[in-house]
C-alpha cells in the first residue's frame, strides 16, 4: 500500500534526522547557498557570443552556418536538403519558423512533410528542423522547450537535425540560461513538459571507448544562426 509506505518513509526520515512528526520548516534554517554555476562570461567574450557559440559547436562535431534575412535562410535550407538528398522532413511550427515559410518552401521543392504524431513515419523522414529557444555559447548547447507546435521527436528521431538559432537568443553560460528559465516561471508560464539540452550529435563510447556518432539520436547536427 503506497499511502502506508509514504507515511512510513517520512517517519523513518524524521526519526533518522532526530526531528518530530510534521517536519521542520525549510526556510527557518540557514538559507541555501547561491547556486550559480560556472561562468565563462568575460566582457570580451560577451561581445561576440555568436562567435563563441560557433567555436563551441565545432568542438562537438557540429557544423555551423549563418544567414541573414528570409531569402538567405530559405536559400540555405533548400540547398541543405538537396545536398543531404532528403526527400522528407519534419519541422517545428514556431512563430519565427512559420514567418520564414520554410515548410511551404520545402513542400514546393518536392519534399514530404511528416507529422510527429506518427512516430514510425517520422523515423523515415530525412531531416528534423527545429528552432532553439535559447543557446549557450560557452558549451555549444541548444535549448529546446516542448509544446504543441514543438514536438520532441523532431530533434531526436530523424537521422539529421537542423536547428535554427536566432542570434539574440544566444546566452553566455548555463547560469544565464537558468535565470531566463526562472523568469519564464515567474511570469506564470507553465514549465514545459520537456526541456531538452542538445550539445552535438548522439554519441557513445561503450565499445572499447571508441567514439561512435548516431547510436540512437541523430548522427548529424547542423546549426544555422540567423542574424
Amino acid at each position: 500500500m503506497t499511502t502506508g509506505s509514504r507515511e512510513e518513509i517520512l517517519h523513518r526520515i524524521r526519526k533518522g534526522l532526530g526531528r518530530g512528526e510534521g517536519g521542520g520548516h525549510v526556510d527557518s534554517e540557514a538559507p541555501l547557498p547561491q547556486n550559480t554555476g560556472p561562468s565563462s562570461g568575460t566582457g570580451e567574450k560577451r561581445s561576440d557570443l555568436a562567435g563563441v557559440f560557433a567555436e563551441s559547436l565545432t568542438g562537438v562535431n557540429t557544423s555551423v552556418y549563418s544567414a541573414s534575412g528570409r531569402d538567405a535562410v530559405l536559400e540555405f535550407i533548400r540547398s541543405f536538403v538537396r545536398e543531404k538528398g532528403a526527400d522528407s522532413f519534419s519541422i517545428w511550427e514556431t512563430e519565427f519558423l512559420k514567418s520564414l515559410g520554410i515548410k511551404e518552401s520545402l513542400e514546393v521543392a518536392g519534399l514530404a512533410v511528416k507529422s510527429a504524431e506518427n512516430k514510425a513515419g517520422m523515423a523515415l523522414s530525412s531531416v528534423g528542423i527545429t528552432e532553439a529557444d535559447y543557446a549557450i555559447a560557452d558549451t555549444g548547447t541548444l535549448v529546446l522547450l516542448s509544446g504543441p507546435e514543438r514536438p520532441r521527436g523532431v530533434s531526436l528521431i530523424p537521422p539529421t537535425h537542423l536547428a535554427i538559432v536566432r542570434k539574440e537568443n544566444i546566452l553566455s553560460d548555463i547560469s544565464e540560461l537558468f535565470d531566463k528559465l526562472n523568469q519564464l516561471h515567474e511570469n506564470q508560464e507553465p514549465i514545459p513538459a520537456c526541456t531538452t539540452f542538445v550539445t552535438g550529435p548522439s554519441r557513445t563510447a561503450d565499445i572499447e571507448l571508441n567514439l561512435t556518432l548516431g547510436v540512437h539520436g541523430p548522427k548529424e547536427l547542423y546549426v544555422l544562426i540567423v542574424f
Binding site: 518513509i9 550559480t36 554555476g37 548547447t141 531538452t196 571507448l209 539520436g217
Partner: protein, 478 residues
C-alpha cells in the same frame, strides 16, 4: 559477497585489467582537464556540498514539495519502502495498461531493485537500450562501471555476442556493431508500451526530473512509449530549479570530463493538452530501500550527497585493479564501499569498508566532497564492534594481538628486544625473498597479511643505530 575471491579473480583477468586501465585513465585525465578549465571549481564543489547537506537535512519537506509539484503537473507519485515494493509498483502499472514490453534507459536504481528479473517473472519483456547495458543484458552479466557498463568486454567479445544472439554476421568495427544495435533498438522503442528511466536529479520546486546522457536512448525511452515511469532514490533531490546550473556541470565534468553531455532532459509531468508527442502518463517512483536508515548516523549521513558521477571509481587505486564486479552489488569503487554496506546491512558486506587504502583520492575528486576516509573508518569501527560482540576466535585473537602490540611499543627495552628477536625469527622465511627484500609468506596468523601482500623484513641494524652512526659521521645533525 566475497570480495577476496572476486577481486583475486579480477586481477588475473588480462582483458579486464587492460580495460580498467584504459577507461579509468581516460576519464581521470578528462575530469582533471575539465575541472582545471572551470573557473572556481573548488568553490562550486563547496556550494554543491552545502546545498546537498541542507537538502538531506530537510529531506521529508523537499520530498513532499516534489510530490505536490509532480502531481500539479499531471504526474503520479509512488513511494516504495524497498526494492520489492518498487518492483511491484512498476509491474502493476504495466499490467493495468496491458504492457507486454518495456524499454529501459540506464539506471543504477533499477539495477538495485533487480527490476528486469521482476518484470520477466511477471511475463513482461524488458530491454536495456543504453548500448553498454544492451551488451551486458545480451551477455547476461552485470555492469562493471557506473558510466561505462561494458568496459570489460572487447570488441571481439561483442562481435561474437551479437553474432550468437542477434544472428548477424561477425562484425569487427564498433561503428558496424553500433549500427546493428541502433536498428534493433529502434524497433523495440516503437513496439514498447512503457519506458522506464532513472533520474539524475529531482527538483522539488518544480516537480522536474532530470536525465543526463550521451546516446539519446533516454530521450527515446521518455518520449516514444505511451507511459513513462521514472525510478528515483529519495536522496537525489535538489531544492531549486536553478540548482541545476551548478549541479549539471559538476556532474558531467566529474563523470566524463565533457563540458556538458550530449543530451539533458528536464521532464515535468506527462505531455500537455495539445502536445503531439511525449508520454500520456508519467509516474515517479520514490525509492527508499535503506536510504532513510543512513540518515540516522550523522557520521555517515553524507554518503547520501553522492550524485553518482563515478569520479571516485576512476581515481581509486583499488577499483582500478579489482573492477566493478568485486564489490558484490550494483555500486562499486569507493562509493560502493561506503554505500553497499549501509544499504544492504553491514553484515552483508563487512569486507567493503576495508577495501580501501584510505589514500583519500576519492575525496579529492568528489564533486560534493564526501569525506571518504572518515566514513570508511566509521564503518570499519562498526564492523569491528559487531565482530567483538558476536565473539569468535579471530575477533579474540585480533584484540589480544593489539593488546600485546601496545605493551611492546610502549616499552622501549621490550621493543628493542622484540626487534632483535624478530630479526632472527624471520630467517627461515627470508629465503623466499620478495621484491624490495620483504617477506613473501609467513605462517598463520601472519599469513593473513602475507597472503595479500609482502611483509617488510626486519633489518639487522635498526634505524636507531644507523641514525647514531650517521650523526657521528657528519658531526652533528644531518
Amino acid at each position: 559477497m566475497n570480495f577476496e575471491r572476486d577481486s583475486a579473480r579480477a586481477v588475473e583477468d588480462k582483458n579486464l585489467q587492460r580495460a580498467l586501465v584504459n577507461v579509468t585513465d581516460r576519464f581521470r585525465a578528462a575530469r582533471k582537464r575539465a575541472s582545471d578549465e572551470t573557473p572556481g571549481w573548488d568553490g562550486l564543489r563547496n556550494r554543491a556540498r552545502e546545498i546537498k547537506k541542507q537538502t538531506i537535512a530537510h529531506l521529508d519537506d523537499y520530498l513532499l514539495q516534489l510530490e505536490e509539484n509532480v502531481r500539479k503537473s499531471g504526474g503520479h507519485v509512488h513511494w516504495a519502502r524497498d526494492g520489492e515494493e518498487a518492483r511491484n509498483i512498476i509491474i502493476d502499472i504495466a499490467r493495468r495498461n496491458g504492457v507486454k514490453s518495456v524499454v529501459k534507459s540506464k539506471s543504477m536504481a533499477t539495477e538495485e531493485i533487480e527490476l528486469n528479473l521482476g518484470l520477466e517473472a511477471a511475463g513482461i519483456r524488458a530491454v536495456e537500450t543504453d548500448l553498454g547495458e544492451y551488451i551486458i543484458q545480451l551477455a547476461g552479466e552485470h555492469p562493471s562501471h557506473i558510466i561505462a557498463p561494458a568496459i570489460h568486454k572487447t570488441r571481439h567479445d561483442i562481435s561474437e555476442l551479437f553474432a550468437e544472439k542477434l544472428g548477424v554476421p561477425y562484425l569487427s568495427e564498433p561503428q558496424e556493431l553500433t549500427k546493428v544495435a541502433r536498428e534493433r533498438l529502434r524497433d523495440e522503442f516503437l513496439g514498447a508500451g512503457m519506458g522506464v528511466s532513472g533520474a539524475n536529479f529531482g527538483v522539488a520546486e518544480t516537480g522536474t526530473i532530470v536525465i543526463v546522457e550521451n546516446e539519446g536512448n533516454a530521450r527515446l525511452t521518455t518520449t516514444v512509449p505511451r507511459i513513462h515511469v521514472a525510478l528515483m532514490g529519495i536522496e537525489k533531490l535538489l531544492p531549486r530549479f536553478g540548482d541545476l546550473s551548478l549541479f549539471l556541470p559538476l556532474l558531467v565534468r566529474s563523470a566524463t570530463g565533457q563540458k556538458t553531455s550530449t543530451y539533458i532532459s528536464l521532464i515535468t509531468g506527462p505531455r500537455r493538452g495539445a502536445d503531439k508527442d511525449g508520454p500520456e502518463e508519467f509516474h515517479l517512483v520514490l525509492l527508499d530501500n535503506g536510504r532513510s536508515g543512513i540518515l540516522a548516523n550523522p557520521e555517515t549521513r553524507e554518503s547520501l550527497y553522492c550524485i553518482r558521477c563515478g569520479a571516485c571509481l576512476n581515481n581509486c587505486p583499488v577499483y582500478r585493479k579489482v573492477g566493478g564486479h568485486s564489490y558484490g552489488w550494483v555500486y562499486s569503487g569507493p562509493i560502493g564501499a561506503i554505500i553497499n554496506p549501509q544499504l544492504m546491512g553491514i553484515d552483508e558486506a563487512p569486507e567493503l569498508p576495508f577495501a580501501s587504502s584510505l589514500c583519500g583520492a576519492c575525496r579529492d575528486v568528489c564533486p560534493v566532497k564526501i569525506d571518504f576516509p572518515k566514513v570508511l573508518l566509521e564503518l570499519r569501527s562498526e564492523v569491528v564492534t559487531r565482530k567483538e560482540k558476536t565473539g569468535g576466535a579471530s575477533a579474540l585473537l585480533e584484540s589480544l594481538s593489539f593488546k600485546f602490540w601496545r605493551a611492546v611499543v610502549t616499552h622501549r627495552k621490550i621493543y628493542e628486544l622484540a626487534l632483535r628477536f624478530s630479526y632472527y625469527a624471520q630467517r627461515p622465511w627470508k629465503t623466499r625473498k620478495a621484491r624490495g627484500g620483504g617477506l613473501r609468506s609467513l605462517p598463520y596468523p601472519f599469513s593473513r597479511w602475507t597472503d595479500e601482500r609482502d611483509f617488510p623484513a626486519v633489518s639487522e641494524t635498526p634505524f636507531r643505530e644507523r641514525w647514531k652512526k650517521m650523526k657521528r659521521r657528519d658531526g652533528g645533525a644531518p
